[in-house]
């Protein structure tokens, strides 16, 4: 676990360096509302831990694991801003402050569901692009890893993202068996000779013919 303050610093550096260049100490200080001296001290520490490259007078650049954490924080922050603006209906600078606090409490699952619930927004209310999600929280549109069920390998887990069906009856049948978006499934077995796919859904095994498997679009997880 990374301390909250580290997450905060990394996010700010990400925001400042998004269009290229490096983040200057003074800019970071004004964004965070702290003194430049404490920023310098923190940057040394982050550099020692390998989150950033820091050259005095030139500024800080994210590296390696720093980028990953920063991107995730920025993503959560902007998703939350979007949520507060569009769904909750609050406006103004308080959204930014609240999002700053809430972003650290979000779990991966919440982040993913939030993103889906809002129809995968592209940008925050301020117009900044929302970074795509990555890692095990892969979410549908972001990495466009949403694939038909038949492309999932045996033994892999996947999450139902949506159902594509011309045939309403088929759609409803699958829904009522529990294939609703957000449900995790495991592809247990793909029977040979184009046989059905055996999927385990909350402990229940279901055999789905390959052609019906096209209805189910899923996202790989883990």
């Amino acid at each position: 676990m990374v301390p909250e303050v580290t997450e905060q610093y990394l996010k700010v550096i990400y925001t400042l360096t998004e269009e290229g260049g490096s983040a200057k100490t003074n800019d970071i200080a004004s964004k965070l509302g702290v003194s430049p001296a404490s920023v310098t001290e923190m940057l040394h520490k982050l550099s020692r831990q390998g989150f950033i490259d820091h050259e005095p007078y030139k500024g800080a650049v994210l590296r390696g694991k720093g980028i990953r954490i920063a991107r995730k924080m920025a993503r959560r922050h902007r998703l939350l801003e979007r949520f507060l603006a569009d769904f909750v209906g609050t406006r103004g600078a308080t959204n930014h402050e609240q999002a700053c606090k809430m972003e650290h409490a979000l779990t991966d699952e919440t982040e993913r569901n939030l993103c889906r619930m809002m129809q995968r927004p592209e940008s925050c209310p301020g117009g900044r692009r929302i970074p795509k999600c990555e890692g095990r929280t892969t979410c549908d549109r972001c990495t466009s890893s949403d694939v038909p069920l038949e492309l999932i390998e045996e033994g892999q887990r996947a999450i139902v993202s949506h159902l594509v069906a011309q045939d309403r009856d088929k759609l409803c049948e699958m829904l009522s068996m529990g294939f609703v978006p957000g449900t995790e499934i495991v592809v247990e077995k793909k029977l040979p000779m184009n046989g059905p796919i055996i999927v385990s859904l909350k402990g229940t095994k279901v055999a789905i013919a390959r052609d019906s498997g096209k209805i189910l679009h899923v996202v790989k997880s883990r």
Partner: protein, 633 residues
């Protein structure tokens, strides 16, 4: 009073039903559909009640045949109480179905079935809490052992209230429901307006057909609007909210993980190709062996016992009548009794027992899954394997097994394939007993090759002709479990009764007519016009005609008749190898026997039955003619 028993498939609904009811269980197809349901009576605390076992469904939305039948039955019968049977180890999905029942305003009692499995995994459900949340009685039961059935019945008889529990949908959907509710009138509907609104939104055709065009247009507009703003059909969201709610409740009353997740993966070797396919072949071979050999053995024993005891009585009685017609009738009765003995106990009973075990153990679904793709090539579903294999034993149970197919078309294709191209054990007996014995095994083998070729060609041709894709399946694969003795017996009993009522009268009538005609000497005269045809086209002597006709009554009889009519048991003296080959080939394809026709009549109706009978009749003659032509060159 009426009680309906509803629930998901594989939750033990019919076991509960079997426990509730005693005698007088009737199983029937719902008019105009292939879906079966059972109905029975029970007495309890001075009430006489009718229990209806609805087909197992995952929802009441009316998207599959089963769902349509279940909804219609609930609607028509207006049961005083609905028992919702639930699988305790799969609370979440079962709760969703329960929600629909509650939403539709039925007086619901939930039966938490298979509670022993839960106990075995050292888990439990907080029943009191579940009752408080759902506001309905919840009773843990173990139907296979009869636990909790009494209190279930007791509660079901007494319940007089609707639950006030509601699933909360998201605000957009709730808003639409409110708008719809206000445009509907309560007195037009038998169930709560909320349920009507939800069903309208999910596009349930049972409901949409009953509202005014105005409301219909409103619904359409709402659904389009929803799809535009949310990018998904409103049904998806309705179901998602239901599952969300179910998940929350399941967590609250159960806490633990879904029980079945434990170790279910590796244990199931029946689905791993390396083990599964050998196991599958083993099971199918065992079925075949049991039907052909064990069935054949029982048949032989029963028939010889009958011949030694009751048959002479009939013959003496018939001879004593001194009247050709009377003798014919008496012998016809005797013959049909013999046929029933030879058919029902060895083949039908044995088959039904096996089928019931396969179903209840959960293996049937595995067979279906493993062979689905292979059967698709013949235009069939994986389920078709069972009838095919069974057909090598006896066509009658094979045709009965065809009812496990989902659509009528598949059932029809299968029926044609079985009756025409799959030789039953009696046909095998003819092939082996005539051609195989007197002309040599190569001749017999070539008949089988021709038949298998016909199977593939016919299958492919019908697949092309009856334009249709086998329904893409999506079925639950239940855990393997030991079938209960009681349930197997009950199921077999019900099915056997259904078969007897249709097959016996037909067999009796057919036997009496044929025997009477033969006894009066009319049969030969009636068949006389066909003799030149037989001779020139098929190259068969005149007496074989009678043998062929008797083959319609019972296939194995035609060989006996052949020997009686030719006056020798060494057929080689009466017929040449070529003639025997043609005869055996014609018999193998020929019109199915009366019992099989009776079953077809019951399952497919008169038109299809006549069609298949005529088709197989003419195909047999054509095949015979071609064989005769080729062999005589």
């Amino acid at each position: 009073m009426e009680i309906a028993i509803a629930g998901n498939p594989n939750v033990g609904k019919s076991v509960v039903f079997g426990r509730l009811t005693g005698v007088g269980v009737v199983t029937a197809n719902y008019p105009g559909s292939t879906v079966e349901y059972s109905e029975g009576r029970a007495k309890f605390l001075g009430f006489t009640m009718t229990a209806v076992d609805l087909p197992g469904t995952y929802s009441l939305a009316g998207n599959t045949d089963e769902e349509r039948v279940a909804t219609k039955l609930l609607f028509e019968r207006k049961p005083d109480c609905v028992i919702a049977v639930m699988d305790s180890t799969r609370l979440e999905r079962n709760l969703v179905f329960l929600f629909e029942l509650i939403e539709s305003g039925y007086h619901v009692v939930a039966s938490l079935n298979m509670y022993d499995l839960l106990r075995k995994m050292k888990q439990e459900v907080d029943v009191a809490r579940m009752e408080r949340i759902l506001m309905i009685p919840v009773i843990p039961t173990v139907a296979t052992k009869g636990e909790g059935i009494d209190s279930l019945l007791y509660t079901a008889v007494q319940i007089r209230g609707r639950s006030k529990f509601k699933v909360r949908y998201d605000s957009h959907i709730e808003e639409m429901i409110r708008r719809l509710e206000s445009s509907l009138r309560e007195e037009d509907w038998d169930y709560p307006l909320r349920a009507v609104a939800v069903r309208l939104l999910s596009g349930d055709s049972n409901v949409t057909s009953k509202v005014t065009t105005e409301v219909c247009r409103l619904v359409e507009q709402m659904r389009d609007e929803f799809r535009d703003t949310h990018g998904e059909d409103v049904v998806v969201h309705i179901q998602r909210d239901r599952f969300g709610e179910a998940g929350r409740i399941a967590k609250e009353v159960h806490g633990g993980l879904p029980a079945a997740e434990i170790g279910s993966r590796l244990k199931d070797i029946t689905l791993r190709p390396a083990f599964g396919i050998p196991i599958l072949i083993g099971v199918l071979a065992l079925m075949f062996v049991v039907l052909v050999f064990v069935g054949g053995f029982i048949e032989g024993a029963l028939v010889s016992a009958y011949e030694q005891t009751a048959k002479p009585l009939f013959i003496d009685f018939g001879a004593g009548l001194n009247n050709d017609l009377g003798r014919g009738i008496v012998e016809g009765v005797s013959l049909s009794i013999e046929a029933m003995l030879a058919l029902v106990i060895p083949y039908i009973l044995v088959f039904y027992l096996m089928l019931s075990v396969l179903e209840d153990s959960g293996y049937l679904v595995r067979i279906v899954s493993l062979l689905d793709s292979t059967m698709h090539k013949l235009g069939l579903h994986g389920r078709a394997v069972i009838p095919m294999v069974v057909g090598f034993g006896c066509n009658v149970p094979a045709l009965l097994a065809a009812r496990t197919m989902r659509s009528r078309r598949e059932r029809l294709i299968l029926a044609v394939l079985i009756t025409i191209a799959v030789p039953c054990s009696a046909q095998t007996a003819i092939i082996i007993g005539s051609v195989g014995k007197f002309a040599g095994p190569l001749w017999a083998l070539s008949i089988y090759v021709i038949l298998m070729g016909m199977l593939v060609v016919l299958g492919l041709a019908m697949h092309r002709a009856i334009k249709f894709e086998p329904t893409g399946m999506c079925i639950e694969v239940p855990d393997m479990r030991w079938p209960s003795l009681r349930q197997t017996a009950v199921k077999t009993g019900i099915r056997l009764k259904g078969f007897l009522t249709i097959a016996f009268p037909l067999l009796l009538a057919g036997s009496v007519v044929l025997e009477a005609l033969l006894a009066m000497g009319v049969l030969q005269q009636l068949l006389a016009p066909a003799e030149p045809f037989m001779l020139t086209v098929l190259g068969l002597p005149a007496f074989t005609t009678v043998a062929l006709v008797f083959g319609i009554l019972r296939k194995e009889m035609s060989l006996q008749m052949l020997m009686i009519l030719s006056g020798t048991s060494n057929l080689a003296l009466a017929l040449s190898n070529e003639q025997m080959f043609v005869f055996a080939l014609v018999m193998a394809i020929f019109t199915p026997c009366l019992a099989a026709l009776a079953v077809m009549l019951k399952e497919f109706g008169a038109k299809a039955t006549v069609g298949i009978a005529v088709a197989s009749f003419s195909l047999a003659l054509v095949a015979g003619a071609i064989a005769n032509f080729v062999l005589s060159i």
